[in-house]
């Protein structure tokens, strides 16, 4: 058996391979279920019912998908340039912190202003955090994977400190209950992001914003000089340098853009869903890490990120909804992992082709390769 690089990628492979990968992932999940004595069809049926079909399920799925769309876009933007920003988690916390501060400071102002302020603050918070690994990478050539990963923990701990172990501006210190169970201050009602209902599916502002960001990022990468240069630097850094492209500036810009998107996701958590700074909730959700899965499944295509976020968000939402009933715990993580394994493995068949040859290899004239 030999594996050789494809000189041309047929267009249909980019569609068929991911779908086939999904099918294989479901088959493997079924095997896991069977081995542990759960009826697969029934489990899948309940999973899909809780994710997409049951009353109100789709609205809940959109709630789970919104942060994943943001962190997925954040990862896609950076991974496109081979900048492995896995700090989406921390950048989302950062945006949640700055977003909540601005919401509390602007209490009393007209609601659209407060919301705009929160979006801007979230973007700035996330971008500033992403700037740290970006500067270290651009000027000290420090590996951004580890620095951005370490910052996730630093910001996560700071987040807990702000609410659980200090008398910070963000902590609710009024009343007896707040002193026993520390929690964030409730944000003013002006800071509640609006939401629209379409066919009884609630679409929060954050979700629409994520779709907008996806379109903007797609245009930026596919239709502008900036995007072209990013692509060149990713594929051939040397060629980029010879052509006079400013690699350092691109690193800073792309990382900050990535951080800003994740940060808006954090602000959306404050404004759309939680209405206070909620360290436990944010840290348990692992939006940043799951966002990388979303981006990889979408093959780093911003437009594909949103539907993939809906798929994974649906799985996650179903996991929450079915928790506690006789539903295998942890199945959602197993399935997400298997899907990602299969898509990663399937990638080989897009880029390479596998040839089966029998017996000893005899010297024969090679078949003429199609020229690209």
């Amino acid at each position: 058996m030999r594996i050789e690089r494809r000189l041309q990628q047929p267009w249909w492979l980019a569609v068929v391979v991911p779908i086939a990968s999904l099918v294989v992932a479901f088959v493997l999940s079924a095997v896991v279920l069977l081995l542990t004595g759960h009826p697969p069809i029934r489990s899948f049926h309940r999973l899909f019912d809780a994710a997409f079909i049951a009353h109100g399920a789709l609205s809940e799925t959109v709630v789970s998908a919104t942060p994943l769309a943001f962190t997925g876009l954040a990862a896609a933007v950076a991974f496109r340039m081979n900048l492995f920003n896995i700090g989406g988690e921390g950048q989302l916390y950062g945006g949640a912190i700055t977003g909540a501060i601005v919401a509390l400071l602007m209490a009393g102002a007209p609601s659209p202003l407060v919301i705009a302020g929160m979006v801007a603050a979230g973007a700035v918070g996330g971008a500033l955090l992403a700037a740290i690994p970006a500067v270290l990478r651009a000027f000290f050539s420090t590996n951004e994977i580890i620095t951005s990963l370490m910052l996730n923990y630093v910001v996560g701990l700071v987040l807990e400190y702000l609410i659980f172990d200090s008398h910070s501006y963000l902590r609710d210190t009024s009343g007896f209950q707040a002193s026993v169970f520390p929690q964030g201050k409730s944000l003013p009602s002006e800071a509640t992001w609006s939401s629209w209902s379409v066919h009884s599916v609630a679409l929060p502002l954050g979700f629409l914003l994520a779709i907008g960001v996806a379109v903007v990022v797609w245009v930026l990468y596919a239709r502008t000089r900036f995007g072209f240069e990013v692509q060149v630097i990713a594929d051939a850094p040397r060629a980029g340098r010879y052509a006079g492209m400013r690699t350092r500036r691109k690193i800073l810009a792309v990382m900050c853009l990535s951080g800003a998107i994740a940060g808006i996701g954090g602000a959306s958590q404050d404004g759309d869903f939680r209405h206070q700074l909620d360290p436990r909730g944010l840290r348990q959700a692992n939006y940043g890490y799951t966002g990388i899965v979303v981006a990889a499944l979408a093959r780093y295509n911003p437009l594909a990120v949103v539907p993939v976020a809906l798929l994974l968000g649906g799985l996650q939402n179903a996991g929450f909804a079915l928790q506690g009933v006789d539903f295998p715990n942890g199945l959602v993580g197993v399935m997400q992992g298997l899907i990602l394994f299969c898509v990663l493995g399937g990638e080989l068949f897009v880029r390479y082709r596998v040839r089966f040859e029998r017996g000893p290899r005899v010297t024969k004239s090679p078949a003429p390769e199609p020229t690209p």
Partner: protein, 319 residues
């Protein structure tokens, strides 16, 4: 004397540092062969749950059962690592994404939780756990008593592992080959070293170490099983490898340093000093970033830095 702050912190630093040390040694072996595995947390959790399962279910004397538990944990960790190895070595997938996928697949909301639930392991304490091996009189020696003699067999075994790995990488032919594979797989291939086999083997052994590290939680530190038991130790182990400049002996020091920082806030509280534990616990992460920046210069990277081919798939036809 043995209740003084420094001794308590150092002794518990050794205790909390031991799972980090095992996991970091494993990750170090994998990274030295050029495979970055970000799935340490997942491998540790699966090792923890399977090791705990073996101890709960197997009959026999305590020592044998515990040994079997460690063996099962190592096998479980290696099995998880095999998925990663297959994806990144054979299928040439992106190592970062594959490692993250492994953490999601096996981690706190994945396979480890699934197994813990399905095998009904939550809620009950371990039937056997690792105990201190030395007599009380030795443990009461000032300063070195709690640090050196107050530990379980897992700690002493980890010291042996550090020495073995250090000797392996510097004094044996296979060890040198591993480093060649990690630095320049093309050159190693030309020498006749089977790059794929080396990467598979070391990724698997790395997974086995991570599994043992996980079992150190479920059989020694908190002798029970709960979802997400390791609490991010796998990620710290990855940082630790960098912090230790890919040197096994420095891993030992680093592990106890990180372990002491976990223990310090609680020990301080016991002495009436209240500090915010969260801010304290950020210090090892900040220290790792600083250490990484310091070794990032070109000269330092050649001397102390990461294996040159870390994270890169090797394809003979495309070198």
């Amino acid at each position: 004397m043995n209740n003084s702050l420094v001794v308590v912190v150092l002794a518990s630093g050794v205790l909390y540092g031991t799972p980090l040390l095992y996991a970091a040694l494993g990750e170090l072996l994998a990274e030295r062969s050029g495979v970055l595995n970000l799935g340490v947390e997942g491998m540790m959790l699966v090792g923890a749950v399977m090791g705990f399962w073996a101890v709960q279910r197997l009959p026999g004397p305590s020592a044998l059962v515990l040994a079997a538990g460690i063996g099962v944990a190592a096998l479980a960790g290696a099995a998880m690592a095999a998925i990663h190895a297959f994806l990144v070595v054979t299928l040439r997938a992106n190592q970062i994404v594959s490692g993250l996928a492994l953490t999601i697949f096996a981690g706190a909301a994945g396979l480890s939780s699934y197994l813990g639930n399905d095998l009904k392991l939550t809620g009950s304490p371990a039937r056997h756990q690792f105990q201190e091996v030395f007599p009380k009189s030795l443990q009461d020696l000032p300063v070195i008593g709690p640090m050196v003699f107050g530990q379980s067999l897992l700690v002493y075994a980890s010291w042996v592992c550090v020495i073995l790995v250090a000797l392996y990488l510097t004094r044996t032919r296979t060890g040198l080959n591993v480093r060649a594979v990690g630095e320049s797989p093309a050159a190693a291939d030309a020498m006749g070293v089977n790059v794929a086999a080396y990467r598979y083997a070391h990724t698997l052994v790395g997974g086995a170490f991570a599994g043992v590290g996980g079992a150190a939680f479920s059989l020694s530190i908190t002798p029970q099983w709960a979802d997400g038991l390791t609490g991010g130790a796998g990620w710290i182990a990855i940082a630790l490898v960098i912090f230790a400049f890919w040197r096994p002996t420095l891993c030992l020091l680093g592990a106890y340093f990180f372990g002491a920082f976990t223990a310090l806030p609680f020990a301080l509280q016991g002495h009436g000093v209240t500090v915010a534990p969260e801010l304290f616990q950020t210090l090892p992460y900040v220290a790792t970033i600083v250490a990484l920046v310091l070794v990032s210069s070109r000269a330092a990277r050649l001397r102390f830095g990461a294996p040159a081919a870390l994270g890169l798939p090797y394809v003979r036809e495309e070198r």
